[in-house]
Assembly symmetry: C2
Homo-oligomer: 272 residues x 2
């Protein structure tokens, strides 16, 4: 474990996309991540992003009805076109241009590029989410080659089924799947950023961050319904990632990225 190179996989929460200044501030922090540790070993970084409200706004401007079911977007053909434009086009290239200006050699791709992430279209029953896919494989060879060139992949949450069909895919799931796939070669720190300071014990108190949660305390927090519904899939995924070999999972505010990676802010999820 100690001999594996360190890889930070950061999921950028959608909320920051609508705040150009906050996004810039986050990217400045992210660009310095590779210099964070006093180490002779290289540190690798990878960023996964969504598109937040921008896709919804564009769809609305184009008169495309947006349907959400259980918090997930129904992706019809027109919506797929919109999310491909916004996620893989505008948002991805805007982030990459900013990172390039900050000295971080970023390269933006989505799951179709170099066959990076294949996915299976979600079955139409019980709910037909449309062109939505769940990841089935990761091309780690391509990512290894990019890391060796000191390139930071910036990944938009669009995948494909290898038969020519693009698929909209949950960005949290992509981050988790990448983290697990890369954990055999890297010590992976998976960092989910979102609008809150971390997992809160009191949703009305933004300072009530639970600094550390393990499997046992997670069960207790769920039973006491301290952890609410929106957070459950995120934490379920996080613990699944830990089980599958990811070294650390942290959850917190994008603006606190550097404290977050050191475990000085946000919530750290641990084994046992």
């Amino acid at each position: 474990m100690a001999n594996k190179p360190l890889l930070y996989i950061v999921k950028l929460g959608g909320g920051l996309m609508d705040q150009p200044d906050a996004l810039e501030a986050f990217l400045s922090l992210f660009a310095t991540l590779r210099q964070q540790q006093h180490s002779t070993h290289p540190i690798y970084t990878l960023l996964v992003h969504g598109g937040g409200k921008l896709a919804t706004e564009l769809a609305s401007q184009l008169g495309i009805d947006q349907q959400l079911r259980e918090g997930r977007r129904i992706t019809d053909a027109e919506t797929l076109k919109v999310v491909t434009m916004v996620y893989a086009g505008y948002v991805n290239k805007t982030i990459v241009a900013s990172l390039q200006a900050k000295g971080c050699n970023a390269l933006g791709v989505c799951g179709v590029d170099g066959n990076l992430i294949t996915a299976q279209k979600r079955p139409a029953s019980p709910i037909d989410y449309g062109f939505v896919g769940d990841p089935t494989s990761i091309n780690t060879t391509l990512l290894n080659s990019l890391f060796k060139q000191a390139i930071t992949p910036v990944i938009a949450p669009i995948t494909h089924n290898k038969l020519g069909q693009l698929l909209n895919t949950n960005a949290d799931t992509i981050a988790q799947t990448l983290a697990v796939a890369l954990s055999s070669h890297y010590s992976v720190e998976l960092i989910y950023t979102f609008e809150k300071n971390g997992v809160l014990s009191d949703t009305n108190n933004p300072e009530s961050v639970i600094s550390s949660i393990d499997r046992t305390t997670y069960q207790t927090l769920k039973e006491k319904q301290i952890i609410h519904s929106g957070m459950l899939p995120k934490l379920d995924n996080a613990f699944a990632a830990l089980e599958a070999g990811v070294t650390t999972v942290r959850i917190g505010k994008a603006e606190a990225l550097l404290s977050l990676v050191k475990g000085q802010a946000g919530t750290t999820l641990t084994h046992a």
Copy 2:
């Protein structure tokens, strides 16, 4: 020269973007290009595309006024957003998904990715084209690394100034600049596809293809005004590419790609 590996750089004409069936047919041909020659040497391929009318249509749907001056789009901030979405997002990923389904390991990027193509914003005088850039450098190291992995880069015509600004760039110019930059390591065949069968001696007769043009005959054709204004910059660029080390330049119909690369269709431009 003979020892350099063969690289086909194909510029896909914008017109095909609006015709899904024709685009599919072209991509099927393009995907087989690497198997075209009886050779033990690998053949590399690279595709450059624009976005044609799709960007104009989206801008129109969004109520963004499009201004053209001397055939070139004025790229204001809103238009830049649109072309980034359409070129680097929708068109790029649609092409890559299709090529992946056809067994061609394509990877879609634009000039900002991996610092692939830097550009300088065009001076605002005499005409202010807005966020339009002319290429200043190519990261051939990144392209070499992709070729070695048997990856076919698919390149959208968006570049950057290394200071965080995306720039809209002419796709023909990108194809030419890539061809010249890569000609020191590859025997580059640069193929411009467009809606016509080739350079025509009679614009009213689609069959009047001039099969071969050299510098001398080009001068004559210009003086006799047989080659019309829209074709001049294309051919000027093509001859400049030949002067700068590109092995062959061919111009013809996308649908005839395989005949085109063999010199059995379209127009071949030659030295001397």
